[in-house]
Amino acid sequence: MATTGQEEFTLDTAAELAAEEGGAKAIQGKSPWAIAGRRLRRNYVALSFLGVFVLVVVCCLLAPLYASHVSHLGENDTNSGGVVTVHGQPVHVISQGGTKIVNGQPKIVFGGIPIGPQWGAAGGQYILGADELGRDIGTRLLFGGRNSLFIGVTAAAISTALSVILALLAGYFGGLVDWVISRFFDLIWAFPVVLLGIALGTALSVNGFHHGFHLFGVFIGLNLSGSSLWITILVIAFVFIPYIGRPLRGQVLALRNREFVEAATAQGAGSVRIMFTELLPNIASSVLVLFTLIIANAILTEVGLSFLGAGVRLPNPSWGTMIGEGSDKLSTAPGLSLFPGIAIAITVLAINVFGDGLRDALDPRAKIRIEHG
């Protein structure tokens, strides 16, 4: 058997041909979801990163347990005058200024520096160190993770749900409906993501969001105070709408003229039924892939907004606010910014790798353009 040598670059005609010439027939009779499931099960890298993500989520959910049993400090409990015992020696959580005798020489010690990571030396307290108010970074990291993950996942879910509905309406009805929805996408698209996010976030944080109406004495609408997490969630959900809506609209448009939709129409199925039972299942794989990728981006956007002060409001911790709080204490307490950043990078990387595997399995062409500058 003569196997050809390595080429300078592989024109993968072979794989393509093989698929054309019968490879495709071998997997006949299996649903696309089953094939995707099989591909995903074989992708151990993607699966292990899914495991990492689940682990992060579980850790964050166990935050109250950590606070009560390990660090003995709640998420917003300050302890600036506190003293902890490290290796039997009392140590101030926030260092006291003054002079100290080191090797017979007096040395000036600056005060106000929070205790660094103890890695268990202080009996579970301040494992990752303290911030300038004596709060436990580990505790805040876990609670902040709850907020960041909650915001990311919820915002992605809302954004995806709205985009799917808009894309279905635009693609199915076409004409004026499509024009209006597409122009709406174009308009949001015309703003830099972070800029639109901080504009909305800041404007809404001053007095909150209070819109709605009373129907038979029942209030229908939203009443959110300026410091509500939901403001951040809705802002992020809003700015990402065109990033999911645009590609999905294109897909629906292409499906719209396919025979099965005509067949359903001929059988007298209503618009809503066609949209949700005929069109939606056909874009479901793309929706799932885009949703996963948007979670990663929503978490990063939350970080950006909170870092700038236009996202989660203090004293609520989130990974973004924690990085922001630590940014001007970089030289004395780098852990303040360092640890939340590592947590974000691990989480987002896990989602991205898993999302990548999901995309390879389900919809290899799905792409999403996002910038966080």
Binding site: T4, T13, A15, L17, A18, G23
Partner: protein
């Protein structure tokens, strides 16, 4: 005149895919002489395109494995390095493809693409290459070639694009022109023109042609020899006369029966071959056509060899059926039930 250009000996091609090993071609042999037209016929998945692309070295890759020999003027092309293969492609062997729309690069002008082919093999300046391109376009029947040369592919009609493809394939005067379903994507009226063009240019350029199609009717006029492929195998091989007038393989009858013909009484309906070609990963035992063959019997559980079973030398088939039985039953399939001699 009878210079032997190509000799393929027991060529086998297989690909490793996600789903297993695909045995795309399992043993094909033929010879090709200058001035001759070889037709390779079969459904999609029969291995005919893989065979053609393998001759050009276009199936090479980490996932592909080859056996056998492809002797071009005595050199085994399977052993030629990738770099040296570039000299054969376009220069010695030219190829045209099924869909002329996607086979031409949409962002370059027709002329640029042909000039590129010329300059890949010959040291000529742009002006000379361009003049030759215009002449080639004229030869393939493109009107106003001196202005059309600067058009983009999307400004050409389907038939004209295929003419341009042919001009490109012939630009370096190759000895062999491989046409892989060149008419499939075209209108019926254009198909005949393209076939006629290929046949005429073969004589003008003194080359040989391998014409691949799923439609026996297309090559009825021009082929000298015909190979019928099924599931990666040659199932029948013979002169055009043999295959058209004394077909030995029930699969060939099916192909013949699916050609609409004016020289025969109209059948109740055109014949279609039931079922679909087998998966190349899990081939059935015995004769590969057995699951779809209306005449299959006990013996077919063993695969028949490619042998000469009729009086005419050079006419081979892979069928266990008795020759006389076949001769008396094949017209049911070929002409849709009405027994009639052609």
């Amino acid at each position: 005149m009878a210079e032997r250009l190509l000799e393929v000996n027991d060529l086998k091609v297989r690909f490793a895919t996600e789903d297993g090993i695909v045995q795309a071609v399992s043993g094909i042999s033929f010879e090709l002489e200058r001035g001759k037209v070889l037709g390779i016929v079969g459904e999609s998945g029969s291995g005919k395109s893989v065979t053609a692309m393998t001759l050009m070295g276009l199936t090479r890759g980490v996932n592909a494995a080859f056996e056998g020999e492809v002797l071009y003027k005595g050199t085994d092309l399977l052993e030629v390095s990738d770099r040296d293969m570039q000299e054969y492609r376009g220069n010695e062997l030219g190829m045209i493809f099924q869909d002329p729309m996607t086979s031409l690069n949409p962002v370059y002008r027709i002329g640029e693409q042909i000039v590129e082919a010329i300059q890949a093999h010959e040291r000529v300046d742009k002006r000379t290459a361009r003049a030759r391109t215009i002449e080639l376009l004229r030869q393939v029947g493109i009107p106003n070639p001196d202005t059309r040369v600067d058009n983009f592919p999307h400004e050409f009609s389907g038939g004209m694009r295929q003419r341009a493809m042919i001009a490109m394939a012939l630009s370096c005067n190759p000895s062999i022109l491989i046409a892989d379903e060149p008419t499939t994507a075209l209108d019926v009226t254009i198909q005949a023109q393209i076939v006629e063009l290929v046949s005429r240019l073969k004589d003008d350029f003194n080359s040989a042609v391998i014409f691949i199609t799923h439609d026996l009717g297309v090559i009825a006029d021009i082929a000298d020899e015909i190979i019928v492929m099924y599931a990666g195998r040659v199932v029948e091989r013979g002169s055009k006369r043999d295959v058209f007038y004394d077909p030995q393989m029930p699969y060939t009858w099916g192909l013949l029966g699916s050609i609409p013909r004016l020289d025969r009484p109209r059948p109740e309906r055109l014949h279609t071959i039931e079922g679909s070609p087998p998966s190349l990963i899990n081939l059935p035992d015995g004769c590969k056509f057995r699951p779809r063959c209306p005449h299959a019997f006990e013996k077919c559980k063993a695969e028949p060899g490619l042998e000469n079973r009729v009086e005419t030398p050079g006419h081979f088939d892979r069928c266990w059926l008795d020759v006389e039985f076949k001769r008396s039953h094949r017209d049911e399939t070929i002409s849709g039930g009405s027994a009639e001699a052609a």
